[in-house]
Symmetry: C2
Amino acid sequence: MEIRISLNDILAFEKQDRTNLVNGLSGFKSALLVGTQNKASQTNLAIFSSVVHIGANPPLMGFIQRPASVERHTYENILETKFFTINHVPVDYYRNAHQTAARFKREQSEFEAAGFHEFYSETFFAPYVKESPIKIGLSLEEEIKINSNGTILLVGKVQEIFIDPSYISESGNINLGSARTIVVNGLDTYYKTEKIGTLPYAKPDKNILT
Amino acid sequence: MEIRISLNDILAFEKQDRTNLVNGLSGFKSALLVGTQNKASQTNLAIFSSVVHIGANPPLMGFIQRPASVERHTYENILETKFFTINHVPVDYYRNAHQTAARFKREQSEFEAAGFHEFYSETFFAPYVKESPIKIGLSLEEEIKINSNGTILLVGKVQEIFIDPSYISESGNINLGSARTIVVNGLDTYYKTEKIGTLPYAKPDKNILT
């Protein structure tokens, strides 16, 4: 039996309960690792579940960064260097990915602390995660303030991708099931996936409901 | 063996191949249904895979809307009425959800065309999807132009939620596995999920890697 939870109910919750509840409302999310380094070559790696597709031409991706009221190494490194990487997490590394969320000191790299290895391409500044099956290098295109709560949407343009071509279909689709990428429910519960089906391009006069 | 795909490679792809490839880069996404109606009571329902968590206090969610160069019924209805709903899709309805992506005429409601039923709460203007296990009513808070490609981030504030309380844990977490919410790979391939594990709050001195 469904219940109604109002905005006032949500605002009256304990902080952690509210955080957990609202984090679940957007559904399953990809848990992706954002890699950066500052100009002094101190690397940083952090898990984000707020990555969103912005557009394909040009190829743009964004993610939500919380307010910079406390130390935000990822955000500071991106502003300082204009480059970052987004790295998919395979099932076997979900614990490592989660561990990057701990508040490590600036001088400690989450790569080493969480059991990942850095990979650098010849022409790109930011560090990739060697263990990641899909590695994306991006340049900062736009920083957009969300006035409703002071968060920031960082928009990056894809500069290069490292991927096993066996994950890409003839029509360009990336097979995330083959790459065994994880999803996250809320802040701490991880899931793997199982394919249901691929559907044809939807048209008003085509019945795919059976 | 990994290959490198450069920005120039991506830009040289056929349009549909590029669209498919870049849509996969952000990983698995929740496929959610956005419900609206205009002032003349014409309802609309559309699948979106770009919903993103913006913040918990106040509870804010956003989604990316493509440029309004063609008819965008969802976007027009939200601007006209300031209200919309976000509805989770259970596994059994993934074909119905996909079908809402077809270009139906304005005077035809995707609710009926795709086999869903409207549900209205006593105090909220926009239509919910009766078949959805997690229904969220939102008011438009902010419309943010993304200059890099002309898309728009629509930010809504959660006004009410309809959910079976058995899906909510004591700590406020929503169990999306129990709700059997789908995820989507790219534009057309749907997956169900299977839980791997729940991890404790990450701390630098706590080893969760074993």
